[in-house]
């Protein structure tokens, strides 16, 4: 009987809503409306372009410096970083493209949760690698000035690498203790995926 009362309540809501004369204007620009994924798509397209530029420039750099170990390694690292930027952006774009509002509800929610989980992991790894990427950038910059900084100032470069490790320590500390919301985001994304799996499998939500 109680469920019938709920249905009666729903019918009342239905009747009252049908009396509403609120206009829903299709295609009208509504202030405050934003697509969650549009900025992501633009950002990722930009990242892919920048990654391609970096991969091309760094590729050309290490090919021209095959006889100098320092610039060669720096060029290869930057080349790999550029490619990683392209791959990450492409994966984001593919995941975002699959997330359309017309998909079945659970399908879309799962895709969005997967995208979110991937973005968080991707951000973490780019943060880790980013702590060291300025070292090959430095090598590259000096090479443009005609100086093989690794050969000329090895101690200076060793300090830079050490500084990279300090940066990494700081990043990991911030990730773990200060930026709790980030860790929370990872957990929430995981929980959402688990919740969706339970719902789909028919288990308790």
């Amino acid at each position: 009987m109680e469920l019938d009362e709920l249905k009666e309540g729903w019918a009342i809501l239905d009747r009252r809503l049908s009396a509403l004369e609120v206009s829903l204007v299709a295609g009208r620009a509504v202030s405050g409306v934003r697509s969650e994924l549009r900025p992501l798509r633009w950002g990722q397209a930009m990242q892919a372009v920048l990654g391609a530029g970096l991969a091309l420039a760094a590729g050309s750099f290490w090919v021209d410096n095959r006889d100098a170990t320092g610039p060669l390694v720096a060029g290869l690292l930057l080349h790999a970083y550029g490619i990683a930027m392209i791959v990450a952006a492409a994966r984001n774009l593919v995941l975002a493209a699959r997330a359309t509002e017309t998909a079945p509800v659970l399908t879309l929610q799962k895709r969005v949760a997967e995208l979110r989980a991937w973005r968080i992991r991707e951000g973490y790894w780019f943060g880790v690698v980013g702590c060291f990427m300025w070292v090959p950038m430095l090598v590259w910059g000096f090479a443009w000035l005609g100086v093989d900084i690794v050969a000329a100032r090895p101690v200076f470069m060793a300090f830079n690498v050490l500084a990279g490790f300090l940066c990494l320590g700081g990043f990991l500390f911030l990730s773990r203790y200060i930026k709790a919301p980030e860790g929370g985001s990872v957990r929430r994304a995981g929980e959402r995926l688990e919740e969706l799996a339970r719902f789909t499998d028919g288990g308790p939500v």
Partner: protein, 176 residues
């Protein structure tokens, strides 16, 4: 069909099925202002996605998908748990008829829905709309059998809620 014709067709269908929009907004929005924004968000998304609508399929099923997806995205963005549209909140909507007498059945419905998680709210809405299982399955992306299982469990849960603080549950393990 011309763009203008398509726009008119979309607006006509949207108007015809506007109660779906309002109900989803009622289930997922935080307050009156939020409800209006969410209803317009849904309408806008319907318009944007209308190009992918296949006229050979039922518009209502397609619209439930879009509306619930927008509602769930909205719920995900909002930290605060949304409150169900209560009896006293309808007149806060532009054009709403004034409500003078609160209805206990509506209030009870609001309390029951508020206790559900966002995905369960979607299922509850489709169940209360009395959609066939096949249609619910198409909207949610579940099998019909799974829909049946989920609805049976939802009913049990709603019954327990409506009955008030339940005695210690015996015999029926959760998830069977």
């Amino acid at each position: 069909m011309s763009d203008e014709g398509r726009r008119r067709q979309c607006e006509a269908l949207l108007h015809e099925h506007r109660r779906i929009v309002f109900k989803v907004a009622a289930v997922y929005a935080r307050d009156a202002d939020d409800r209006q924004d969410l209803a317009q968000d849904i309408a806008l998304q319907v318009w944007r996605s209308f190009g992918s609508y296949d006229p050979a399929r039922p518009f209502a099923t397609w619209m439930y998908r879009v509306a619930l997806n927008v509602g769930l995205s909205h719920a995900r963005r909002e930290r605060e748990k949304p409150a169900m549209l209560g009896a006293d909140a309808l007149d806060a909507l532009e054009g709403g008829m004034p409500i003078t007498e609160p209805d206990e059945r509506l209030a009870q419905l609001a309390r029951a829905i508020e206790a559900l998680e966002p995905l369960e709210r979607a299922l509850a809405l489709l169940y209360l709309e009395e959609l066939p299982y096949a249609e619910i399955a198409a909207v949610l992306g579940l099998s019909e059998t799974n829909v049946g299982t989920r609805i049976a469990r939802l009913k049990q849960r709603l019954c327990r809620q409506l009955a008030g603080p339940a005695p210690v549950e015996k015999g029926v393990p959760h998830g069977t």
